[in-house]
């Protein structure tokens, strides 16, 4: 790993975190009026917005409708100013299309799709600032937005990533760590049932180390879950208080 030292001798990472530490997560539900559900999440310097519309009638031709379950339609888009270099196309490039597909697969597996046959749910994700872990932040934001919209899910979906540097597994990689060319494993889990809904790994990793990296990533997902759950409970509490206040 030329140039930058991803893990110091003292066991600190570039941004001063310990290997098992997540970046600071700030999130908020119900940020928009027009959408049926919306959420905003900040994981370190990665900032993502998600909006959910639906369930509603199937748009763009009835041929797309499924007779036994809902169509989950995702769109991942990155603001042109979200990256260091200006992005020419906010969506439609291969990377975004791949990301859209991954999100779709993830949520197809999580939403209770059979409850809404012949309907459609739209999940729109907008990355405002990208600093690594875009997929993870998108999944976490979309989960919150779906919860805000009141769409039945099997469980929260929480995503996290892990890498492997100097015999140590690092959780929640930032952009610098991601782009150094090492291993990165991205995972999305249903934390309660400890099921994996999405898993992707790139670059090389010795088989012996795989379980260590996976464990770190899954632990990261659980940590994310705790943060999201607190946020949801706070939000529901606030909303309930607001409704109660109106009635009084």
């Amino acid at each position: 790993m030329a140039g930058v030292e991803l893990l110091s001798d003292q066991g600190f990472r570039i941004d001063g975190r310990r290997p098992h530490e997540l970046r600071k997560i700030e999130c908020r539900l119900g940020v928009f009026r027009q959408a049926d559900g919306s959420a905003y999440i900040e994981q370190g310097n990665t900032k993502v917005l998600a909006a959910v519309y639906g369930p509603h009638e199937v748009r763009g031709g009835r041929g797309k409708a499924l007779h036994d379950k809902v169509v989950v339609n995702c769109q991942y888009s990155m603001a042109t100013f979200s990256t260091g270099e200006r992005k020419r196309r906010p969506r439609g490039d291969r990377k975004s299309q791949e990301m859209t597909m991954h999100l779709q697969q993830t949520f197809d597996a999580t939403i209770l799709t059979t409850l809404y046959p012949r309907s459609q749910i739209d999940i729109f994700v907008e990355v405002l600032q990208a600093d690594g872990g875009n997929y993870c932040a998108s999944v976490n934001a979309a989960t919150l937005a779906l919860i805000d919209a009141g769409i039945p899910l099997k469980d929260y979906v929480c995503a996290s990533s892990a890498g492997f540097v100097r015999d140590t597994a690092l959780v929640d990689m930032n952009h610098l760590e991601e782009s150094s060319g090492g291993t990165e494993l991205i995972i999305a889990t249903l934390p309660k049932s400890q099921q994996i809904v999405f898993l992707e790994m790139n670059s090389r990793l010795h088989e012996d180390n795989l379980s260590a990296v996976m464990d770190r990533a899954v632990a990261g997902c659980t940590d994310v879950y705790n943060v999201l759950d607190t946020a949801v409970r706070d939000h529901v509490g606030e909303t309930a208080a607001a409704i109660g206040g109106d009635a009084a």
Partner: protein
């Protein structure tokens, strides 16, 4: 009860309120919705990957603006002028009425409107964006994304753009005369100087005679015409009334007057926001 009337008989619903000189959201006819502004700076808030950024919340309408700089060769006709390219995106996120896909007609019209405002007001001297005449200039891309659409996106866009531009810094770039190589000094930054601050104010015409400033989405849908006036405090930079109901001269004068009032308000807001240090982008998103 009120909600049902609002959905079933929106015109009647509004008429009842307007007879009393107020609007359903407790505003007076000439009153803007509460505006929250978060102007990005290098040390933290808003978008730090952009050279300048701003997030604005006008009632429920939310628009974010990011400014990115790139280097390019100038046109041969204007060797000392840089470029300023605005673009408005009405993404599928902001409203169910916008579908994913290529930019809608409304988005194109808005982009053109913002471009006209920049051109007419000349708030950024394009010559300031020149690095080496005939060889290299800055291209500033101003991308505006509407995140929540509740009417009057035009005013929100202009304010977001002005606010973002007022806090945009570019690294100093030097071009070696002989080798033609460029050298970027990221430590040394230069702020973009605005010659003026264009601010717009839109009014919707209701039933041919009442003028509602800063219309919400429902007010826009019910209106029989829109008037947008952009001022820089002294002069009018743009006056747009695309068709709709005919307007008496004194009504037009009222719109212009309101635009000047709004200019003072908005300028104060920009100065205040620049002073304050909001910790996260959430601040304008939170307050409702």
């Amino acid at each position: 009860m009120a909600d049902e009337v609002r959905t079933a008989q929106p015109k009647e619903f509004y008429r009842k309120y307007l007879e009393q000189g107020v609007r359903p959201d407790n505003r007076e006819l000439g009153e803007f919705r509460p505006t929250v502004l978060d102007i990005g700076s290098k040390n933290g808030s808003c978008i730090s990957t952009a050279e300048g950024s701003a997030l604005i919340r006008l009632g429920n309408t939310i628009v974010i603006c990011g400014i990115k700089g790139e280097l390019a060769e100038p046109k041969t006709e204007t060797p000392t002028e840089g470029y300023l390219v605005p673009n408005v995106e009405l993404s599928a996120v902001c409203s169910p009425q916008f579908r994913p896909g290529p930019p809608s007609e409304q988005a194109q019209v808005l982009s053109q409107f913002v471009a006209n405002v920049l051109k007419n007001s000349q708030c950024v001297e394009l010559e300031d964006l020149c690095i080496a005449p005939g060889k290299m200039v800055w291209v500033l891309y101003a991308d505006l994304i509407c995140l929540d659409y509740d009417g009057n996106v035009a005013d929100a866009c202009v304010l977001a753009l002005t606010a973002a531009l007022s806090n945009t810094s570019l690294p100093v770039v030097r071009v070696d005369e002989e080798t033609g190589k460029t050298e970027t000094d990221f430590k040394e930054e230069k702020k973009i100087q605005l010659t003026c601050t264009p601010i717009s104010a839109t009014s919707a015409i209701f039933e041919d005679n009442v003028l509602l400033v800063d219309p919400t989405r429902q007010e826009e849908e019910l209106s029989t015409g829109l008037v947008t006036v952009v001022t820089d405090g002294k002069n009018i930079c743009s006056l747009e009334k695309p068709g709709g109901s005919p307007l008496k001269d004194q009504q037009m004068r009222l719109c212009i007057e309101r635009a000047f009032q709004r200019h003072t308000e908005a300028c104060n807001l920009i100065t205040q926001s620049q002073g304050s240090t909001l910790s996260t982008l959430t601040s304008p998103l939170v307050d409702r």
